[in-house]
């Protein structure tokens, strides 16, 4: 039998002090670096309190977008125990497709004459496109591989991801395209005496509303209950008369719709689309999902916000003081540094232990 052999080997490895020593030194080095860097930055006084505040708000806004994308990863993982690595492209597909609607509205002047209707239409086009892409992905790329070893759908996901990127590149070119300006979104609002960009307020509020809608859906509706049942025990879910395939499709569709909404919110913040735009937000949202404990909807939201804030504040706070010239360019380093650290120290995320894995 192989099981006892493996576990005793693991035991021996765990008894080995070297691994602990490395981990402990690593965490001491990180904590020292962060504390020393932050202290130095604060002593220099380059940033005012208002600067920090706007960095945090910026972080919360982009973190809200990560959170919405992260829900798609977490829902699919919760039901299929698989990471849909093409989810970033699901997000891109919606925002990119809706771009053409926005341009058409912009040219005709309708966009700024009827901004609410236009934004509604753009949002719907993005959500519908992302939903369709997610559902087709499930049908074509993942369903035939259900029951295959875990690595296989992972490779397919990466393939699907490239397929979608290069489809958009082939159709619409490699250049970034600027979304038309929507006048009502420009400028700031003063909330509790703090001036905040309108886009940031809208993004955060929209994300919170969508998160509440999703949470209620999963907790209260029949489909939501079926999703939880299939995630816990697929065979018994079928015994309860649940249509497992349809439930899995619904899960992809919901994750897709949220990614489509996140695509438009992302565009509100960054104003452009490009065929690679799904890559970084996708991986960051995945990081957020892992950070919050993959499989957990609440964790995805928490992880997204935490990652957004760390990413916005972190480089300036930790690195300015130690003399790094333009720390904001190192945002991805912070994001992926966090991913690596979470995987090492808290593989189950900060909300709990790792989910019991079933194939």
């Amino acid at each position: 039998m192989t099981a006892p052999a493996t576990s005793s080997r693991r035991l021996r490895f765990e008894r080995l002090p070297l691994r602990r020593i490395i981990l402990i030194s690593l965490s001491i080095a990180i904590v020292y670096g962060v504390v020393a860097g932050s202290a130095a930055t604060l002593r220099m006084g380059t940033f005012t309190a208002a600067d920090w505040r706007s960095l945090v708000i910026n972080g919360i806004a982009r973190g809200s977008v990560y959170a919405l994308i992260a829900i798609g990863y977490t829902l699919v993982y919760g039901i299929l125990f698989m990471i849909n690595f093409a989810h970033g492209e699901v997000f891109m597909s919606g925002a990119y497709t809706a771009f053409f609607v926005a341009v058409a509205f912009g040219r005709s002047g309708y966009l700024n004459a009827h901004p609410l209707v236009s934004i509604g239409a753009i949002l719907i086009v993005s959500m519908v496109t992302s939903t369709l892409v997610a559902v087709i992905l499930e049908r074509v790329a993942y369903r035939p591989l259900r029951g295959a070893p875990r690595l296989v759908p992972l490779i397919t996901a990466i393939g699907a991801s490239f397929f979608l990127q290069y489809t958009f590149r082939g159709l619409y070119g490699a250049q970034a395209r600027a979304y038309p300006t929507i006048n009502v979104l420009q400028g700031t609002w003063t909330i509790f005496g703090v001036e905040i960009l309108r886009t940031q307020v809208i993004v955060v509020v929209a994300a919170i509303l969508l998160w509440i809608a999703l949470f209620t859906f999963v907790a209260k509706t029949r489909t939501g209950r079926s999703m939880r049942a299939v995630g816990e025990d697929r065979e018994i879910a079928a015994l309860m008369g649940i249509n497992v395939d349809r439930t899995i499709v619904a899960t992809f569709a919901i994750g897709g719709a949220l990614a489509g909404a996140a695509g438009i919110l992302y565009v509100f913040l960054f104003n452009q689309v490009i065929f690679t735009m799904g890559f970084f937000p996708g991986i960051k949202a995945f990081t957020a999902a892992v950070l919050g404990g993959i499989g957990s909807v609440t964790g995805a939201a928490m992880g997204g916000l935490l990652l957004g804030v760390l990413e916005a504040v972190g480089p300036n706070l930790f690195l300015t003081g130690v003399g790094v010239p333009s720390p904001n360019q190192l945002q991805p380093v912070v994001a992926f540094g966090i991913l690596v650290l979470v995987l090492i120290f808290l593989p189950g995320g900060f909300l709990g232990a790792p989910e019991e894995k079933r194939a």
Partner: protein, 243 residues
């Protein structure tokens, strides 16, 4: 006599396998409306596989399964369940992260009539008052006995014509075992036909009408419960028990 009427559940020469492992060889058995039929056998005899095959959770590669006048061996589990068959699975397999209320509600997943569902939930609470006290508790935190009650309750809210039960007394203290068998009798008296898999051969036969004995995937004995109880060496010859 019931002998005349067609069985509600009828397996004819059903064979099934897990990859190269042959688990059932030409199993034939029948269950008539209103009966309690028990399926006995030692470990690995194929009892669970028989129930799983009836529900389409394991595929029969040969043979016919007829339920209520219709061939079901090619249907999906969902389709089979929708025709009025369900199971209390081996090891209970509740949705541990859901509450007692949700587990009961999910048993009625295919039903629409809210009043009738509520009546069945009330019937379950009549059988198991303990569950009513724990209605908002997560199923995973219930005691073993309570979990078994909930597993039975969840199957009953599906309002099945025929209920398959896979070792409902497993892991329970003797006093609870007795209670479970009383409950099975009561459920049967309320009009549910039962196919019962059990290790506790004598207790099971004492409430059953008829019984079958499986040995390495084949039916080796089939008789009335009374005859099986009087069988001289049922236990040591067929069930591998030391009683």
């Amino acid at each position: 006599m019931t002998e005349q009427q067609a069985p509600i559940l009828d397996l004819a020469s059903v064979s099934a396998a897990y990859g190269p492992v042959r688990a059932l060889e030409e199993v034939s058995l029948e269950v008539r409306t209103g009966e309690i039929v028990c399926l006995l056998g030692s470990n690995a005899a194929g009892k669970s596989t028989t129930l799983r095959t009836i529900l389409g959770m394991t595929r029969a590669h040969a043979g016919e399964i007829v339920f209520d006048g219709e061939r079901i061996e090619r249907l999906s589990t969902q389709e089979i369940v929708s025709r009025g068959l369900t199971m209390v699975p081996e090891n209970r397999r509740l949705f541990g992260k859901m509450t007692v209320r949700e587990n009961l509600a999910i048993g009625a997943n295919l039903r629409k009539d809210k009043a009738a569902i509520q009546a069945d939930v009330d019937r379950v609470f009549g059988l198991f008052p303990r569950l009513k006290e724990r209605i908002s508790q997560k199923a995973g935190t219930l005691s073993g006995g309570e979990q078994q009650m909930l597993a039975i309750g969840r199957a009953l809210t599906a309002s099945p014509k025929v209920l398959l039960m896979d070792e409902p007394s497993m892991g329970l203290a003797p006093i609870l075992v007795e209670q479970v068998f009383d409950t099975i009798k009561e459920i049967n008296a309320q009009g549910v036909t039962i196919l019962l898999v059990e290790q506790n051969a004598h207790v099971a036969l004492s409430i059953a009408d008829r019984g079958y004995v499986l040995q390495t995937g084949r039916i080796v004995l089939a008789d009335t419960a009374k005859a099986l109880l009087e069988h001289p060496n049922l236990s040591d010859a067929y069930l591998g028990e030391l009683e």
